[in-house]
């Protein structure tokens, strides 16, 4: 039991530092594309600590306080059901008790909790951001479910660990074995990470910063930390599902960074879609590929 708790803490620490590192790179990389120097690599950590060091934070009653907490809790719970490494006792969390379907549900819990808090705050921009987020979710989830379904039927299991185990060599990686599923999932991946062109939820020029509009001080600190950790969870999940998992932390970082780099270039190069354009986009190309792949799959069964 103690080992599990220690392992969980380690997972939190690892995702936090990995996330801060990646997003530090993200800011510097963006700055370079902008032809400027950019902040130091650890600027995100400084920002985060500063937010926690703010003396004041606005409150709107108990539900508002709970929002960031639910969000962070949701993130950490999802994290615990994702195995980080294969063939290792380390960084497994509770993944042996859960499966992919549970995880898909858990990943939605955080945003829903936040939606309640934003609703309590009564800020129209926040409410609008949440509405946009939920609308966008419809677009994102459909291709994601399709690719996950393909994967599950392909591997014949719903356990993440087992899916990961099955990918023993490069040619067996799900990315090679089920290229259609991988491509479809990449679209939802970019959307789930909140990169342009699917970042309409928190667009500052439209709805201030959407769901975060009313959060300041330590709440924002929680949300910022939560965001980077959640991004890492998604990266690791994709590594597990499609890139053959990782046997140690360095391989994990290398693989997840490759995915992160993809997200980064897409985010840097494109402006953002409107909400319905984003949903439209998701329900066109990815959906067609996805449905095509599913049909092919059932044909071959």
């Amino acid at each position: 039991m103690l080992f599990t708790i220690f392992n969980s803490l380690l997972a939190v620490l690892l995702t936090y530092s990995m996330g801060m590192l990646y997003y530090g790179f993200y800011r510097i990389g963006n700055a370079r594309i902008h032809r400027r120097v950019g902040p130091p690599l650890w600027q995100n950590v400084i920002d985060n600590i500063k937010l926690f060091a703010k003396r004041e934070a606005p409150g709107h009653g108990i539900m508002f306080h709970l929002g960031p907490v639910i969000m962070t809790a949701g993130t950490i719970t999802s994290m615990l059901f994702v195995p980080f490494l294969k063939d290792s006792a380390w960084l497994q969390g509770f993944s042996s008790y859960g499966n992919l379907i549970l995880l898909i549900y858990l990943m939605v819990v955080g945003p829903l909790g936040n939606a309640l808090a934003v609703g309590v705050s009564g800020v129209p921009f926040g409410v609008m951001g949440v509405t946009r987020g939920l609308t966008r979710l419809i677009g994102l989830e459909v291709p994601f479910f399709l690719s996950v379904a393909l994967l599950m039927s392909g591997s014949g299991t719903i356990s993440i660990s087992e899916i990961m185990m099955a990918q023993d060599s490069f040619s067996n990686w799900n990315m090679m074995a089920h290229p259609a599923a991988f491509i479809v999932s990449l679209f939802s991946f970019v959307g789930m990470m909140g990169a342009s062109p699917f970042d309409v939820v928190g667009a500052p020029v439209e709805v201030y910063s959407g769901p975060q509009a009313e959060f300041g001080g330590k709440y924002l600190g929680f949300l910022a930390a939560q965001r980077v950790m959640f991004s890492m969870v998604k990266l690791i999940l994709w590594v597990d599902l499609f890139l053959g998992g990782a046997t140690n932390v360095f391989i994990l970082m290398a693989k997840s960074f490759a995915l992160f780099f993809f997200y980064f270039i897409v985010g840097a190069a494109f402006p953002r879609f409107k909400t319905e354009q984003a949903v439209d986009f998701m329900l066109k190309l990815p959906l067609i590929i996805g449905i095509g792949a599913v049909l092919v799959r059932f044909w071959s069964l």
Binding site: A31, V37, K50, R55, P58, Y208
Partner: protein, 202 residues
């Protein structure tokens, strides 16, 4: 990118008690990460984009834009303030979270500037809001604006950038001054006090 520069290290060596070190560290984090509220109040708004974009790149110093007052640390009042704007600025300032800072750019907030005889702009900003740093110029160049940010950083590190506390302590004085121009169309008291039923922070 020497974040802990020589000046900081020298200061750190002089500190004696652990609490002082903690205070120092908190101030260090505050000064290294400054979220600037994007509110173009006057002409000076035109020199803010060059300051934060590629040519001068204020993000090197940890200065970045924030969208809403809740997330911001510093409000840059760039130039003259019409009476109508001042009302919104006060409201915005009161919504920001402590510790919060004000940078004033240009001549106009100091003594009216070239609009000293205009019937619709205020003449002395520090009568209505606590100003931390003022930069001279009409408009200040991006270099001068950067120097303004550095002066603010020094002030934060010294622990003297407590405009918000000053505003709370002397709320009577500030509100009376504001009343002089708004008359009975005053804003309600300190925004947080009436906006949040549970009293703001805990």
């Amino acid at each position: 990118m020497d974040n802990l520069n020589k000046k900081d290290k020298a200061q750190l060596k002089e500190l004696k008690s652990p609490m002082a070190v903690v205070d120092w560290a908190v101030n260090w984090f505050r000064k290294q990460s400054i979220f600037m509220l994007a509110y173009g109040t006057g002409c000076g708004a035109i020199e803010i984009p060059p300051t934060v974009t590629a040519r001068y790149d204020a993000e090197r110093f940890g200065v970045r834009g924030a969208a809403t007052p809740r997330q911001a640390d510093v409000i840059v009042l760039s130039g003259y303030l019409a009476v109508k704007t001042l009302k919104r600025v006060i409201r915005t300032y009161e919504q920001m979270q402590e510790p919060k800072y004000v940078i004033a750019l240009g001549s106009c907030p100091i003594n009216g500037g070239m609009y000293w005889d205009s019937y619709n702009t205020i003449k002395q900003l520090d009568r209505y809001l606590p100003v931390d740093v003022t930069v001279a110029g009409c408009m200040p160049r991006p270099e001068a604006v950067l120097e303004g940010f550095m002066a603010l950083k020094d002030k934060i590190q010294r622990g003297e950038a407590e405009g918000a506390r000053d505003y709370r302590d002397n709320i009577e004085k500030y509100k009376n001054n504001q009343k002089e121009i708004f008359g009975d169309k005053m804003l309600p008291g300190y925004t947080c006090d009436w906006y949040f039923s549970d009293g703001g922070s805990f």
